[in-house]
Point group: C2
Chain length 102, copies 2
DNA sequence: TTGATATATGAAAATATGTTCATATATTTG
DNA sequence: CAAATATATGAACATATTTTCATATATCAA
């Protein structure tokens, strides 16, 4: 006889997976990291620091904005992105201690 | 003149992304959740609770074991999986508070 | 040894994600 | 207005991940 405890519901897990997936990419993690250190940055600034092609970066940024992780505000020619969901910073910290195989 | 602070190195970010990706899947998150509540579970037990096809579940479990998140031990016909890298539980908690778009 | 049960494996198919490239749009400046 | 700059868009392509299915292997019990 098995009595297995199952806590979290499906919907919550799907949401969590969705957010994790959004962040689980080196460039996107770098963006989160950058924006945790710098209140707001223009696409160009991020582009230069990360050495990432403009259009590719744009895709990443818009993706993360769509999912509520970033916000953006326009100022003249520039668009400044900033961290909307600051909790995602914790994900990086959380994993730094992990001792998984890689 | 731009002075952008950039903290984490590329390698660290790639490792973090790698681990996050491994966990960023509803079924795999459910497995982590289950194993945070139950010390160890057989493939079959997990199969039944999650209503997941046996072979698919096996793929997930082996994948997570390979990446150091789970461990397994054989006992007769059964293989019991348990959480090796308990820190990943925190990822779920971390995200539960997040208020992203979905 | 045969049959039943639990788990793993591997290849193929289905699906999703990431990247590139060419070009569009919007804003500023001369 | 034309040119320059910053960013966005979309389609095509490349690549990676997930799922399915058929089957293999291992262990146990009769």
């Amino acid at each position: 006889m098995t009595t297995v405890t199952y806590q979290i519901n499906k919907e919550k897990l799907e949401k969590a997976a969705y957010i994790l997936k959004t962040v689980a990419h080196p460039t996107r993690l770098a963006i989160v990291d950058l924006l945790s250190q710098n209140e707001k940055l223009s696409v160009n600034e991020i582009c230069e620091v990360l050495q990432c092609e403009q259009s590719l970066l744009s895709h990443h940024l818009i993706n993360m904005k769509l999912k509520g992780i970033l916000r953006s505000e326009k100022d003249g020619l520039n668009v400044f992105y900033s961290l909307k969901e600051k909790d995602v910073i914790k994900l990086i910290e959380c994993i730094e201690h992990c001792d998984c195989n890689y």
